[in-house]
Protein backbone atom coordinates (compact mmCIF):
# COMPACT_ATOMS: atom_id res chain seq x y z
CA UNK A 1 0.00 0.00 0.00
CA UNK A 2 1.28 3.42 -0.95
CA UNK A 3 1.64 6.04 1.70
CA UNK A 4 -1.45 8.00 2.60
CA UNK A 5 -1.68 11.28 0.74
CA UNK A 6 -4.83 13.10 1.81
CA UNK A 7 -5.12 11.54 5.25
CA UNK A 8 -1.42 11.63 6.09
CA UNK A 9 -1.97 14.23 8.80
CA UNK A 10 -5.69 13.80 9.38
CA UNK A 11 -5.17 12.70 13.00
CA UNK A 12 -2.29 15.08 13.69
CA UNK A 13 -3.16 17.40 16.59
CA UNK A 14 -4.33 20.84 15.42
CA UNK A 15 -3.71 20.05 11.74
CA UNK A 16 -6.61 22.39 10.94
CA UNK A 17 -4.52 25.33 12.12
CA UNK A 18 -2.33 27.02 9.55
CA UNK A 19 0.90 26.91 11.57
CA UNK A 20 0.62 23.17 12.07
CA UNK A 21 -0.38 22.63 8.44
CA UNK A 22 2.68 24.61 7.34
CA UNK A 23 4.97 22.80 9.75
CA UNK A 24 3.82 19.60 8.03
CA UNK A 25 4.78 20.94 4.63
CA UNK A 26 1.64 22.91 3.83
CA UNK A 27 1.62 25.79 1.33
CA UNK A 28 4.99 24.82 -0.15
CA UNK A 29 3.11 23.60 -3.21
CA UNK A 30 1.41 26.97 -3.58
CA UNK A 31 4.70 28.81 -3.55
CA UNK A 32 6.17 26.29 -6.01
CA UNK A 33 3.16 26.53 -8.34
CA UNK A 34 3.22 30.32 -8.44
CA UNK A 35 7.00 30.60 -8.89
CA UNK A 36 7.88 27.69 -11.12
CA UNK A 37 4.83 27.05 -13.29
CA UNK A 38 2.78 28.90 -15.85
CA UNK A 39 -0.97 28.30 -15.42
CA UNK A 40 -1.21 26.18 -18.59
CA UNK A 41 1.67 24.00 -17.40
CA UNK A 42 -0.33 23.15 -14.29
CA UNK A 43 -3.34 22.19 -16.39
CA UNK A 44 -1.10 19.91 -18.48
CA UNK A 45 0.39 18.42 -15.33
CA UNK A 46 -3.01 17.56 -13.84
CA UNK A 47 -4.11 16.16 -17.20
CA UNK A 48 -1.05 13.90 -17.19
CA UNK A 49 -1.90 12.52 -13.73
CA UNK A 50 -5.33 11.41 -15.00
CA UNK A 51 -6.75 12.54 -11.65
CA UNK A 52 -10.44 11.72 -11.93
CA UNK A 53 -13.29 13.48 -10.17
CA UNK A 54 -13.94 12.06 -6.71
CA UNK A 55 -17.50 13.33 -6.41
CA UNK A 56 -19.00 10.40 -8.28
CA UNK A 57 -18.75 10.92 -12.02
CA UNK A 58 -15.01 10.25 -12.32
CA UNK A 59 -14.38 12.77 -15.07
CA UNK A 60 -10.66 13.66 -15.48
CA UNK A 61 -10.09 16.99 -13.72
CA UNK A 62 -7.36 18.27 -16.05
CA UNK A 63 -9.48 17.57 -19.12
CA UNK A 64 -12.38 19.47 -17.52
CA UNK A 65 -10.09 22.45 -16.92
CA UNK A 66 -8.90 22.39 -20.52
CA UNK A 67 -12.49 22.88 -21.75
CA UNK A 68 -12.38 26.51 -20.58
CA UNK A 69 -12.66 28.81 -23.60
CA UNK A 70 -9.66 31.00 -24.34
CA UNK A 71 -9.64 34.74 -24.96
CA UNK A 72 -13.13 35.67 -23.86
CA UNK A 73 -13.85 38.74 -21.87
CA UNK A 74 -15.63 37.17 -18.88
CA UNK A 75 -14.46 36.11 -15.43
CA UNK A 76 -13.82 32.41 -14.75
CA UNK A 77 -15.22 30.89 -11.57
CA UNK A 78 -14.10 27.88 -9.56
CA UNK A 79 -16.58 26.12 -7.31
CA UNK A 80 -15.51 23.48 -4.81
CA UNK A 81 -18.37 21.05 -4.46
CA UNK A 82 -18.70 20.31 -0.75
CA UNK A 83 -22.40 19.48 -0.91
CA UNK A 84 -21.67 15.96 0.27
CA UNK A 85 -25.06 14.24 0.48
CA UNK A 86 -24.90 10.89 -1.31
CA UNK A 87 -26.10 8.35 1.28
CA UNK A 88 -23.11 6.32 2.43
CA UNK A 89 -20.58 9.10 1.79
CA UNK A 90 -18.87 11.13 4.53
CA UNK A 91 -15.30 11.80 3.41
CA UNK A 92 -15.33 15.47 2.36
CA UNK A 93 -16.67 16.44 5.75
CA UNK A 94 -13.65 14.82 7.46
CA UNK A 95 -11.22 16.43 5.00
CA UNK A 96 -12.68 19.87 5.71
CA UNK A 97 -13.06 19.50 9.45
CA UNK A 98 -9.59 18.16 10.14
CA UNK A 99 -7.39 19.39 7.29
CA UNK A 100 -9.17 22.31 5.61
CA UNK A 101 -5.98 24.01 4.46
CA UNK A 102 -5.19 21.10 2.14
CA UNK A 103 -8.39 21.83 0.21
CA UNK A 104 -7.79 25.58 0.38
CA UNK A 105 -4.25 25.26 -0.95
CA UNK A 106 -5.63 23.10 -3.76
CA UNK A 107 -8.27 25.73 -4.45
CA UNK A 108 -5.70 28.52 -4.72
CA UNK A 109 -3.42 26.52 -7.02
CA UNK A 110 -6.34 25.46 -9.21
CA UNK A 111 -7.62 29.05 -9.39
CA UNK A 112 -4.17 30.14 -10.57
CA UNK A 113 -4.11 27.34 -13.16
CA UNK A 114 -7.47 28.29 -14.65
CA UNK A 115 -7.11 32.05 -14.25
CA UNK A 116 -9.92 32.39 -11.73
CA UNK A 117 -10.06 35.27 -9.24
CA UNK A 118 -13.23 34.37 -7.35
CA UNK A 119 -13.72 30.87 -5.98
CA UNK A 120 -16.64 29.46 -4.00
CA UNK A 121 -16.72 26.57 -1.56
CA UNK A 122 -20.31 25.31 -1.62
CA UNK A 123 -20.85 23.48 1.68
CA UNK A 124 -24.03 21.58 2.42
CA UNK A 125 -26.20 23.52 4.84
CA UNK A 126 -26.20 20.95 7.63
CA UNK A 127 -22.39 20.98 7.90
CA UNK A 128 -22.17 23.96 10.27
CA UNK A 129 -19.03 22.84 12.07
CA UNK A 130 -17.40 22.05 8.77
CA UNK A 131 -18.23 25.54 7.44
CA UNK A 132 -16.84 27.09 10.63
CA UNK A 133 -13.57 25.18 10.32
CA UNK A 134 -13.26 26.11 6.65
CA UNK A 135 -14.03 29.75 7.30
CA UNK A 136 -11.40 29.96 10.06
CA UNK A 137 -8.89 28.37 7.73
CA UNK A 138 -9.70 30.78 4.89
CA UNK A 139 -9.22 33.71 7.26
CA UNK A 140 -5.88 32.34 8.43
CA UNK A 141 -4.75 31.89 4.83
CA UNK A 142 -5.85 35.43 4.02
CA UNK A 143 -3.81 36.78 6.97
CA UNK A 144 -0.73 34.96 5.70
CA UNK A 145 -1.19 36.48 2.26
CA UNK A 146 -2.15 33.21 0.52
CA UNK A 147 -5.56 34.62 -0.40
CA UNK A 148 -6.11 38.22 -1.50
CA UNK A 149 -4.17 40.58 -3.72
CA UNK A 150 -0.79 39.78 -5.26
CA UNK A 151 -0.42 36.36 -3.61
CA UNK A 152 3.23 35.74 -2.60
CA UNK A 153 4.32 38.58 -4.89
CA UNK A 154 3.13 36.73 -8.00
CA UNK A 155 0.66 39.38 -9.13
CA UNK A 156 -2.12 36.78 -8.86
CA UNK A 157 -5.29 37.85 -6.99
CA UNK A 158 -7.91 35.53 -5.52
CA UNK A 159 -10.80 35.66 -3.11
CA UNK A 160 -12.56 32.59 -1.75
CA UNK A 161 -16.16 32.70 -0.51
CA UNK A 162 -17.97 30.08 1.50
CA UNK A 163 -21.48 29.48 0.25
CA UNK A 164 -23.76 27.40 2.44
CA UNK A 165 -26.47 25.23 0.94
CA UNK A 166 -29.99 24.65 2.20
CA UNK A 167 -30.18 20.89 2.60
CA UNK A 168 -30.82 19.80 -0.96
CA UNK A 169 -29.07 16.70 -2.37
CA UNK A 170 -29.65 17.98 -5.90
CA UNK A 171 -27.13 20.77 -5.29
CA UNK A 172 -24.35 18.20 -5.58
CA UNK A 173 -25.26 18.15 -9.28
CA UNK A 174 -23.20 20.92 -10.81
CA UNK A 175 -25.84 22.83 -12.75
CA UNK A 176 -28.26 22.77 -9.81
CA UNK A 177 -25.45 23.96 -7.57
CA UNK A 178 -24.98 27.00 -9.79
CA UNK A 179 -28.72 27.72 -9.76
CA UNK A 180 -28.51 27.56 -5.97
CA UNK A 181 -25.66 30.10 -5.76
CA UNK A 182 -27.55 32.36 -8.14
CA UNK A 183 -30.39 32.35 -5.62
CA UNK A 184 -33.00 30.22 -7.38
CA UNK A 185 -34.69 26.91 -6.66
CA UNK A 186 -31.92 24.43 -7.41
CA UNK A 187 -33.31 22.79 -10.53
CA UNK A 188 -30.84 21.35 -13.00
CA UNK A 189 -29.96 22.95 -16.33
CA UNK A 190 -29.86 21.27 -19.69
CA UNK A 191 -26.31 20.50 -20.92
CA UNK A 192 -24.79 21.66 -23.25
CA UNK A 193 -23.76 24.36 -22.68
CA UNK A 194 -21.41 22.79 -20.17
CA UNK A 195 -20.41 24.84 -17.12
CA UNK A 196 -16.85 25.25 -18.42
CA UNK A 197 -18.32 27.30 -21.26
CA UNK A 198 -21.43 28.81 -19.69
CA UNK A 199 -21.73 28.31 -15.94
CA UNK A 200 -22.22 30.60 -12.98
CA UNK A 201 -23.85 33.86 -14.14
CA UNK A 202 -23.22 32.71 -17.69
CA UNK A 203 -19.45 32.70 -17.16
CA UNK A 204 -16.96 29.87 -17.62
CA UNK A 205 -17.04 27.76 -14.45
CA UNK A 206 -15.15 24.75 -13.15
CA UNK A 207 -16.70 22.60 -10.42
CA UNK A 208 -14.53 20.08 -8.59
CA UNK A 209 -15.12 17.90 -5.55
CA UNK A 210 -13.29 18.53 -2.24
CA UNK A 211 -11.30 15.28 -2.42
CA UNK A 212 -10.27 15.96 -6.03
CA UNK A 213 -9.00 19.44 -5.18
CA UNK A 214 -7.22 18.23 -2.03
CA UNK A 215 -4.95 16.13 -4.27
CA UNK A 216 -3.65 19.15 -6.18
CA UNK A 217 -0.96 20.38 -3.71
CA UNK A 218 0.52 16.87 -3.57
CA UNK A 219 0.62 16.63 -7.35
CA UNK A 220 2.46 19.95 -7.58
CA UNK A 221 4.94 18.85 -4.91
CA UNK A 222 5.63 15.37 -6.26
CA UNK A 223 4.89 15.55 -9.96
CA UNK A 224 2.44 13.97 -12.38
CA UNK A 225 4.43 10.74 -12.82
CA UNK A 226 4.45 10.12 -9.09
CA UNK A 227 0.65 10.46 -8.91
CA UNK A 228 0.05 8.37 -12.02
CA UNK A 229 2.19 5.58 -10.56
CA UNK A 230 -0.25 5.12 -7.66
CA UNK A 231 -3.41 3.09 -8.12
CA UNK A 232 -4.29 1.42 -11.42
CA UNK A 233 -3.46 2.57 -14.91
CA UNK A 234 -6.77 4.32 -15.49
CA UNK A 235 -7.83 4.98 -11.91
CA UNK A 236 -4.82 6.79 -10.54
CA UNK A 237 -4.03 7.91 -7.01
CA UNK A 238 -5.64 6.93 -3.76
CA UNK A 239 -9.32 6.99 -2.90
CA UNK A 240 -11.07 7.63 0.37
CA UNK A 241 -13.46 4.71 0.84
CA UNK A 242 -16.32 5.34 3.28
CA UNK A 243 -17.35 2.18 5.12
CA UNK A 244 -20.74 2.05 6.81
CA UNK A 245 -23.54 -0.33 7.69
CA UNK A 246 -22.99 -3.76 9.25
CA UNK A 247 -19.25 -3.46 9.59
CA UNK A 248 -17.07 -3.81 12.68
CA UNK A 249 -14.88 -0.79 11.99
CA UNK A 250 -16.87 1.76 10.01
CA UNK A 251 -15.13 4.93 8.87
CA UNK A 252 -13.03 6.46 6.13
CA UNK A 253 -10.06 4.57 4.69
CA UNK A 254 -7.65 6.17 2.27
CA UNK A 255 -6.23 3.36 0.16
CA UNK A 256 -4.66 2.91 -3.21
CA UNK A 257 -7.25 2.75 -6.01
CA UNK A 258 -7.96 -0.85 -6.86
CA UNK A 259 -7.97 -2.39 -3.39
CA UNK A 260 -10.42 -5.28 -3.44
CA UNK A 261 -13.83 -4.98 -1.87
CA UNK A 262 -13.10 -8.12 0.13
CA UNK A 263 -9.95 -6.57 1.63
CA UNK A 264 -11.85 -3.40 2.35
CA UNK A 265 -14.60 -5.21 4.23
CA UNK A 266 -12.69 -7.98 5.98
CA UNK A 267 -9.21 -6.53 6.45
CA UNK A 268 -9.72 -2.80 6.91
CA UNK A 269 -13.34 -2.85 8.09
CA UNK A 270 -12.72 -5.76 10.45
CA UNK A 271 -15.47 -7.92 8.95
CA UNK A 272 -19.21 -8.12 9.50
CA UNK A 273 -20.86 -7.30 12.81
CA UNK A 274 -21.42 -10.39 14.98
CA UNK A 275 -19.62 -12.46 12.32
CA UNK A 276 -22.86 -12.74 10.39
CA UNK A 277 -22.88 -13.77 6.74
CA UNK A 278 -22.52 -10.92 4.27
CA UNK A 279 -25.58 -10.44 2.10
CA UNK A 280 -24.97 -7.44 -0.13
CA UNK A 281 -22.80 -4.37 -0.62
CA UNK A 282 -23.49 -1.03 -2.28
CA UNK A 283 -19.97 -0.12 -3.43
CA UNK A 284 -20.19 3.54 -4.46
CA UNK A 285 -22.90 5.45 -2.63
CA UNK A 286 -26.66 4.81 -2.67
CA UNK A 287 -27.05 5.49 -6.40
CA UNK A 288 -24.94 2.67 -7.76
CA UNK A 289 -26.05 -0.90 -8.55
CA UNK A 290 -25.75 -3.31 -5.63
CA UNK A 291 -23.38 -6.29 -5.47
CA UNK A 292 -24.13 -9.70 -3.94
CA UNK A 293 -21.89 -11.36 -1.36
CA UNK A 294 -20.22 -13.53 -4.01
CA UNK A 295 -19.20 -10.48 -6.06
CA UNK A 296 -16.78 -8.88 -3.61
CA UNK A 297 -13.57 -10.17 -5.16
CA UNK A 298 -13.47 -7.07 -7.23
CA UNK A 299 -11.07 -4.16 -7.46
CA UNK A 300 -12.49 -0.90 -6.22
CA UNK A 301 -11.61 1.30 -9.18
CA UNK A 302 -13.67 2.97 -11.89
CA UNK A 303 -13.10 0.34 -14.61
CA UNK A 304 -13.38 -2.85 -12.56
CA UNK A 305 -16.70 -1.85 -11.02
CA UNK A 306 -18.09 -0.68 -14.35
CA UNK A 307 -17.18 -4.06 -15.85
CA UNK A 308 -19.31 -5.75 -13.19
CA UNK A 309 -22.23 -3.45 -13.96
CA UNK A 310 -21.79 -1.24 -10.93
CA UNK A 311 -19.87 2.00 -10.32
CA UNK A 312 -17.20 3.42 -8.01
CA UNK A 313 -19.33 6.57 -7.61
CA UNK A 314 -18.35 8.39 -4.44
CA UNK A 315 -16.94 5.16 -2.91
CA UNK A 316 -19.54 5.11 -0.17
CA UNK A 317 -19.53 1.42 0.72
CA UNK A 318 -22.70 0.29 2.50
CA UNK A 319 -22.44 -3.23 3.90
CA UNK A 320 -25.46 -5.39 4.76
CA UNK A 321 -25.59 -8.75 6.53
CA UNK A 322 -28.30 -11.34 6.22
CA UNK A 323 -30.54 -9.56 8.72
CA UNK A 324 -31.42 -6.93 6.15
CA UNK A 325 -34.58 -7.21 4.07
CA UNK A 326 -33.68 -5.99 0.60
CA UNK A 327 -37.15 -4.61 -0.11
CA UNK A 328 -37.09 -2.53 3.07
CA UNK A 329 -33.51 -1.40 2.37
CA UNK A 330 -34.49 -0.32 -1.14
CA UNK A 331 -37.47 1.61 0.18
CA UNK A 332 -35.13 3.65 2.40
CA UNK A 333 -33.17 4.64 -0.69
CA UNK A 334 -36.17 5.25 -2.91
CA UNK A 335 -37.80 7.45 -0.30
CA UNK A 336 -34.60 9.50 -0.35
CA UNK A 337 -34.75 10.12 -4.10
CA UNK A 338 -38.47 10.83 -3.92
CA UNK A 339 -37.70 13.49 -1.30
CA UNK A 340 -34.71 14.94 -3.16
CA UNK A 341 -36.06 15.03 -6.72
CA UNK A 342 -36.14 18.70 -7.71
CA UNK A 343 -39.37 18.16 -9.64
CA UNK A 344 -38.20 19.47 -13.00
CA UNK A 345 -38.47 16.28 -15.08
CA UNK A 346 -41.70 14.26 -14.95
CA UNK A 347 -40.09 10.79 -15.12
CA UNK A 348 -38.08 11.52 -11.97
CA UNK A 349 -40.67 13.58 -10.09
CA UNK A 350 -43.55 11.15 -10.71
CA UNK A 351 -41.47 7.98 -11.04
CA UNK A 352 -39.69 8.24 -7.68
CA UNK A 353 -43.04 8.84 -6.02
CA UNK A 354 -44.60 5.77 -7.67
CA UNK A 355 -41.61 3.57 -6.86
CA UNK A 356 -41.87 4.57 -3.22
CA UNK A 357 -45.62 3.86 -3.21
CA UNK A 358 -45.17 0.42 -4.79
CA UNK A 359 -42.42 -0.49 -2.32
CA UNK A 360 -44.53 0.64 0.61
CA UNK A 361 -47.47 -1.46 -0.47
CA UNK A 362 -45.19 -4.47 -0.89
CA UNK A 363 -43.89 -3.97 2.65
CA UNK A 364 -47.45 -3.54 3.94
CA UNK A 365 -48.35 -6.96 2.54
CA UNK A 366 -50.55 -5.40 -0.13
CA UNK A 367 -48.26 -6.06 -3.10
CA UNK A 368 -49.62 -7.87 -6.12
CA UNK A 369 -47.53 -10.40 -8.05
CA UNK A 370 -47.32 -8.05 -11.06
CA UNK A 371 -45.90 -5.25 -8.86
CA UNK A 372 -42.34 -6.53 -9.21
CA UNK A 373 -42.35 -6.01 -12.96
CA UNK A 374 -44.25 -2.76 -12.59
CA UNK A 375 -41.62 -1.40 -10.21
CA UNK A 376 -38.84 -2.43 -12.57
CA UNK A 377 -40.69 -0.86 -15.47
CA UNK A 378 -41.10 2.49 -13.70
CA UNK A 379 -37.37 2.55 -12.94
CA UNK A 380 -36.50 1.62 -16.52
CA UNK A 381 -38.58 4.49 -17.80
CA UNK A 382 -36.81 7.00 -15.56
CA UNK A 383 -33.38 5.77 -16.65
CA UNK A 384 -31.87 8.07 -19.25
CA UNK A 385 -34.98 10.23 -19.51
CA UNK A 386 -34.10 13.11 -17.19
CA UNK A 387 -32.03 16.28 -17.50
CA UNK A 388 -29.69 15.46 -14.62
CA UNK A 389 -28.32 12.19 -13.20
CA UNK A 390 -30.69 12.14 -10.19
CA UNK A 391 -33.19 10.18 -12.25
CA UNK A 392 -30.64 7.49 -13.10
CA UNK A 393 -29.45 7.54 -9.50
CA UNK A 394 -32.97 6.70 -8.33
CA UNK A 395 -33.53 4.05 -11.01
CA UNK A 396 -30.24 2.13 -10.76
CA UNK A 397 -30.70 0.82 -7.20
CA UNK A 398 -34.28 -0.27 -7.96
CA UNK A 399 -33.31 -2.17 -11.10
CA UNK A 400 -30.27 -3.82 -9.54
CA UNK A 401 -32.02 -4.78 -6.29
CA UNK A 402 -34.75 -6.50 -8.32
CA UNK A 403 -32.27 -8.17 -10.66
CA UNK A 404 -30.22 -9.58 -7.79
CA UNK A 405 -32.85 -10.22 -5.12
CA UNK A 406 -36.00 -10.84 -7.16
CA UNK A 407 -37.07 -13.71 -4.92
CA UNK A 408 -37.46 -11.37 -1.94
CA UNK A 409 -39.71 -9.03 -3.89
CA UNK A 410 -41.78 -11.91 -5.27
CA UNK A 411 -42.04 -13.50 -1.85
CA UNK A 412 -43.53 -10.32 -0.39
CA UNK A 413 -45.93 -9.90 -3.29
CA UNK A 414 -47.16 -13.46 -2.88
CA UNK A 415 -48.16 -13.09 0.74
CA UNK A 416 -44.76 -13.89 2.29
CA UNK A 417 -43.17 -12.11 5.24
CA UNK A 418 -40.15 -9.81 4.84
CA UNK A 419 -36.78 -11.57 5.08
CA UNK A 420 -34.34 -10.58 7.76
CA UNK A 421 -34.44 -9.54 11.35
CA UNK A 422 -33.83 -5.82 11.23
CA UNK A 423 -36.76 -3.61 11.93
CA UNK A 424 -37.19 -1.17 9.11
CA UNK A 425 -40.44 0.71 9.59
CA UNK A 426 -40.99 3.41 7.04
CA UNK A 427 -42.53 6.86 7.08
Amino acid sequence: MAEKILFKYIDYPDQHKIDVYMKNGGYTALSKALKEFKPEELVEMVKKTNLRGRGGAGFPAGVKWSFLPKGINKPTYLIINADESEPGTFKDRQLMEYDPHQMIEGTIITSYAINCHTAFVYIRGEFTYCAEQTEKAINEAREKGFIGKNILGSGFDLDIHIFRGGGAYICGEETSLMESIEGWRAMSRQKPPFPAVEGLWGCPTIINNVETISNIPHIVNNGADWFASIGTEKSTGTKIYCLSGHINRPGNYELEMGVTLRELIYEYGGGIIDDKPLKAVIPGGSSVPILKADEIDINMDFESLAEKGSMLGSAGVIVMHDGACMVAALQKLTKFYEHESCGKCSPCREGTNWMDKILKRMLNGEGKPEDVDLLFDVAKNIMGNTVCPLGDAAAMPVMSFIEKFRDEFENLCNGGKPKGTIKFPFR
Binding site: E84, S85, E86, P87, G88, T89, F90, D92, R93, R124, G125, E126, F127, T128, Y129, H161, F163, R164, G165, G166, G167, A168, Y169, S180, I181, E182, G183, W184, R185, A186, W201, C242, L243, S244, G245, H246, P250, G251, N252, I282, S286, G316, I318, M320, A324, A329, K332, L333, F336, H339, E340, C342, I422, K423, F424, P425, R427
Partner: protein, 157 residues
Protein backbone atom coordinates in the same frame (compact mmCIF):
# COMPACT_ATOMS: atom_id res chain seq x y z
CA UNK B 1 -39.32 41.32 13.46
CA UNK B 2 -35.69 40.63 12.71
CA UNK B 3 -33.09 41.66 15.27
CA UNK B 4 -30.81 44.62 14.60
CA UNK B 5 -27.79 42.37 14.24
CA UNK B 6 -29.62 40.25 11.65
CA UNK B 7 -30.56 43.40 9.75
CA UNK B 8 -26.92 44.48 9.77
CA UNK B 9 -25.81 41.10 8.46
CA UNK B 10 -28.40 41.31 5.70
CA UNK B 11 -27.27 44.80 4.76
CA UNK B 12 -23.69 43.51 4.46
CA UNK B 13 -24.84 41.01 1.81
CA UNK B 14 -25.74 43.85 -0.54
CA UNK B 15 -23.26 44.14 -3.37
CA UNK B 16 -21.33 41.04 -2.32
CA UNK B 17 -22.26 39.04 -5.44
CA UNK B 18 -22.70 39.96 -9.11
CA UNK B 19 -26.50 39.72 -8.80
CA UNK B 20 -28.82 40.65 -5.93
CA UNK B 21 -30.53 37.29 -6.05
CA UNK B 22 -27.31 35.48 -5.12
CA UNK B 23 -27.80 36.95 -1.64
CA UNK B 24 -31.07 35.05 -1.19
CA UNK B 25 -29.67 31.78 0.22
CA UNK B 26 -27.16 33.55 2.52
CA UNK B 27 -30.05 35.81 3.65
CA UNK B 28 -32.19 32.77 4.48
CA UNK B 29 -29.38 31.51 6.70
CA UNK B 30 -29.32 34.86 8.51
CA UNK B 31 -33.09 34.80 9.10
CA UNK B 32 -32.99 31.15 10.20
CA UNK B 33 -30.17 31.83 12.65
CA UNK B 34 -32.02 34.84 14.02
CA UNK B 35 -35.49 33.31 14.40
CA UNK B 36 -35.01 29.53 14.36
CA UNK B 37 -37.41 29.21 11.41
CA UNK B 38 -38.57 31.16 8.36
CA UNK B 39 -41.88 32.99 8.43
CA UNK B 40 -43.26 34.92 5.49
CA UNK B 41 -43.04 38.20 7.43
CA UNK B 42 -39.37 37.74 8.27
CA UNK B 43 -38.55 36.72 4.72
CA UNK B 44 -40.37 39.77 3.37
CA UNK B 45 -38.31 41.95 5.69
CA UNK B 46 -35.11 40.27 4.49
CA UNK B 47 -36.14 40.62 0.83
CA UNK B 48 -36.65 44.35 1.28
CA UNK B 49 -33.21 44.75 2.85
CA UNK B 50 -31.26 42.81 0.23
CA UNK B 51 -33.36 44.34 -2.54
CA UNK B 52 -34.94 41.27 -4.13
CA UNK B 53 -38.61 40.60 -4.74
CA UNK B 54 -40.59 39.05 -1.89
CA UNK B 55 -41.84 36.42 -4.30
CA UNK B 56 -38.30 35.34 -5.23
CA UNK B 57 -37.16 34.86 -1.65
CA UNK B 58 -40.28 32.83 -0.84
CA UNK B 59 -39.95 30.74 -3.95
CA UNK B 60 -36.36 29.86 -3.12
CA UNK B 61 -37.00 29.30 0.59
CA UNK B 62 -39.70 26.72 -0.04
CA UNK B 63 -37.27 24.61 -2.06
CA UNK B 64 -34.85 24.07 0.82
CA UNK B 65 -35.71 21.68 3.65
CA UNK B 66 -32.96 22.87 5.97
CA UNK B 67 -35.12 25.77 7.12
CA UNK B 68 -38.31 25.03 9.09
CA UNK B 69 -41.17 27.17 7.82
CA UNK B 70 -43.01 27.08 11.14
CA UNK B 71 -41.92 27.61 14.70
CA UNK B 72 -40.16 24.55 16.11
CA UNK B 73 -38.98 23.62 19.61
CA UNK B 74 -35.91 25.15 21.18
CA UNK B 75 -34.13 21.90 20.38
CA UNK B 76 -34.90 20.61 16.91
CA UNK B 77 -33.97 16.93 16.97
CA UNK B 78 -33.44 15.47 13.50
CA UNK B 79 -32.67 11.77 13.36
CA UNK B 80 -31.23 10.39 10.14
CA UNK B 81 -33.23 7.38 8.99
CA UNK B 82 -31.58 6.68 5.67
CA UNK B 83 -30.06 3.25 4.95
CA UNK B 84 -26.75 3.19 6.87
CA UNK B 85 -28.33 4.64 10.00
CA UNK B 86 -31.34 2.31 9.70
CA UNK B 87 -29.04 -0.69 9.48
CA UNK B 88 -27.48 0.48 12.75
CA UNK B 89 -30.71 1.00 14.65
CA UNK B 90 -31.96 4.47 13.74
CA UNK B 91 -35.45 3.24 14.11
CA UNK B 92 -35.17 2.06 17.64
CA UNK B 93 -33.56 5.42 18.38
CA UNK B 94 -36.60 7.20 16.93
CA UNK B 95 -38.92 4.98 18.94
CA UNK B 96 -36.97 5.67 22.09
CA UNK B 97 -37.08 9.43 21.54
CA UNK B 98 -40.83 9.29 20.86
CA UNK B 99 -41.33 7.43 24.11
CA UNK B 100 -39.00 9.62 26.11
CA UNK B 101 -40.37 12.92 24.84
CA UNK B 102 -43.93 11.59 24.63
CA UNK B 103 -44.41 12.98 21.12
CA UNK B 104 -44.60 11.48 17.65
CA UNK B 105 -42.25 12.27 14.78
CA UNK B 106 -43.19 15.70 13.43
CA UNK B 107 -44.48 16.97 16.78
CA UNK B 108 -43.24 19.43 19.42
CA UNK B 109 -43.41 18.90 23.19
CA UNK B 110 -46.10 21.05 24.90
CA UNK B 111 -43.41 23.05 26.72
CA UNK B 112 -41.93 24.02 23.34
CA UNK B 113 -38.57 22.52 24.22
CA UNK B 114 -38.23 19.65 21.73
CA UNK B 115 -39.32 18.97 18.17
CA UNK B 116 -38.64 15.52 16.71
CA UNK B 117 -38.10 14.95 13.00
CA UNK B 118 -36.65 12.19 10.89
CA UNK B 119 -34.51 13.41 8.01
CA UNK B 120 -32.54 12.12 5.05
CA UNK B 121 -28.82 11.27 5.08
CA UNK B 122 -26.71 13.80 6.99
CA UNK B 123 -23.34 12.52 5.78
CA UNK B 124 -22.45 10.80 9.02
CA UNK B 125 -22.96 7.18 7.97
CA UNK B 126 -19.76 5.84 9.56
CA UNK B 127 -20.87 7.04 12.98
CA UNK B 128 -24.45 5.74 12.83
CA UNK B 129 -26.93 6.04 14.39
CA UNK B 130 -26.85 9.79 14.65
CA UNK B 131 -28.95 12.90 14.99
CA UNK B 132 -28.58 16.58 14.39
CA UNK B 133 -29.83 18.87 17.16
CA UNK B 134 -30.03 22.48 16.02
CA UNK B 135 -26.74 22.89 14.15
CA UNK B 136 -24.65 20.18 15.86
CA UNK B 137 -24.19 16.48 15.17
CA UNK B 138 -24.45 13.79 17.85
CA UNK B 139 -23.03 10.51 16.65
CA UNK B 140 -22.70 6.82 17.62
CA UNK B 141 -25.80 7.23 19.75
CA UNK B 142 -26.90 4.83 22.45
CA UNK B 143 -29.90 5.08 24.76
CA UNK B 144 -27.57 6.13 27.60
CA UNK B 145 -26.13 8.95 25.48
CA UNK B 146 -29.60 10.12 24.49
CA UNK B 147 -30.68 10.09 28.16
CA UNK B 148 -27.70 12.21 29.10
CA UNK B 149 -28.30 14.75 26.31
CA UNK B 150 -32.03 15.13 26.88
CA UNK B 151 -31.42 15.55 30.60
CA UNK B 152 -28.85 18.25 29.91
CA UNK B 153 -31.20 20.15 27.59
CA UNK B 154 -34.13 19.84 29.97
CA UNK B 155 -31.97 21.46 32.63
CA UNK B 156 -30.83 24.32 30.44
CA UNK B 157 -34.25 25.58 29.47
Amino acid sequence: MLSDSAKEKLAELKGKYPTKEASILPALHVVFEDCGYLSVDQMDEAADIIGVSRLDINETATFYTLFPKEKVGKYLIQVCDNLSCSLMGADSLVEYLQEKLDIKVGETTPDGLFTLWTVECLGSCGTAPMMQVNDRYYERLTRAKVDELIEKWRNTK
